[in-house]
């Protein structure tokens, strides 16, 4: 089991979709929301994902394929 912290940024067309629910359901990942801000035209969620490494990997790939931007919660760590 491993834990990872990520930020999801949702485009407007995905705000009404239960992406985080599906992520937990389809990939056996425990999702734990720590901070969020969602309005009618955009949204972001900072959350912790807990599960098997390969499930988390596949889960993130699925979320990304739906059109959600996934970033490490620390922001970019590569600097100039």
């Amino acid at each position: 089991m491993t834990k990872t912290q990520v930020m999801f940024t949702f485009p407007q067309e995905l705000i009404r979709e239960p992406i985080i629910y599906s992520l937990g359901h389809q990939f056996k990942i425990v999702t734990n929301i720590r901070r969020a801000d969602v309005t009618e035209n955009r949204g972001w969620v900072v959350l912790e994902l807990e599960g098997e490494e390969k499930d988390i990997e596949q889960g993130i790939a699925w979320v990304t394929s739906k059109g959600v931007r996934v970033d490490p919660v620390v922001g970019d760590v590569v600097e100039g």
């Binding site: 912290q5 940024t9 720590r34 901070r35 801000d37 955009r42 972001w44 900072v46 912790e48 931007r69 970033d71 490490p72 919660v73 620390v74 922001g75 970019d76 760590v77 590569v78 600097e79 100039g80």
Partner: protein
Amino acid sequence: MSYARALRCRKCGQEYPLQPLNRCDFCLSPLEVSYDYKAMARGLSREELAAGPRSMWRYRDMLPVEGEEVDIGTGFTPLVKADNLGRELGLDRLYIKNDCLNPTYSFKDRAVSVAVSKAREFGFDTVACASTGNLAASVAAHAAKAKMRAYVFVPSDVEPGKLVGAAIYDPILVKVDGSYDDVNRLCTEVAKRYSWGFININLRPYYAEGSKTLGYEVAEQLGWRAPDCVVAPAASGLLFTRIWKGLDELAMLGLIEPVNTHMYIAQAAGSSPIVNAFNAGSLHINPVTPDTIVKSIAIGNPADGHYALMVARQSGGGACAVDDEEAIAGVQLLAQTEGIFAEAAGGVVVGVLRKLAASGVIKRGELTVASITGAGPRTQEVLTDIVRPFAVQPTIESVEESIGALVRSA
């Protein structure tokens, strides 16, 4: 003696002992060093600070370092009155803070000097970072001085020329076959796996503090006062917030009058998530995919973007972006008026300064400091078409024929 007392969450205020940690366990927000300012105020005076070494370590008591510092001669860089550039832009009291003159040619030495000092204090024998240039060189140089091992992760599409500035100090260079986002994700994983001091991850709260010295120096060099306006580039947004914190702390300690400085963020249009948010009136940064030649500030998901935005707003400042062409024009203008060869990020600052002055946002008489954060020679590939020499034979006739008319018209 250091007056640092804890790490504190910038969002929820939760406190942690001073340790290698950069995120709050509860809300996953960034941590920053908090100090006992009352004790610090009692222990500090202008005279004592001014009598310190001519480096950033004259402000040692305001930094979170207990042990001996790892210093390669960073800081107390010139603050020059830029009258020629000021005339071009219509600003009567323009100053350039020239951080090109740090040992590895950028302001990163300030931050890294504190981070590597702290890494040694925490007992790490290895430091690491992910970088495309300036940070890599600085980390490698400080590790060499501290006799520590350094791992530097770079994206595979980095120009080989850029890596020379890091490789000379003999770090372990790791070239990652993947996109920028891949490198980013990989390094957060690597940082979890190995017990290294990762400069911009678990040492980030300390790294951040080093940048405050830029603000301290500007105030001291102006004769212990804050400027009316500061224009500084923003990549992660960290430096921008720390210049402000530096000025704010000096005022809190009674070393300068209350600060009324307007802080302006400069970004490249191809990577301007903070400027976008400012213009949209939002407090949330929407990450972008960078597309600009100004690589040293091309960060799409700025870790301190939110806080930089807050500083720009609260200080009555602003945020402005210029495109790549304007950035290059800015580099040339700075060199041709003040004799300072900055990297493209410096051109962005000059470009933004030009716009803000032209639109009257920054007024002619305001004491304005432009922060030039890195030197040009490392990224000269963006400027190759400026080299257009006159080709002559080694005879005076040939010289006369080629440039005679030019000489006579001068």
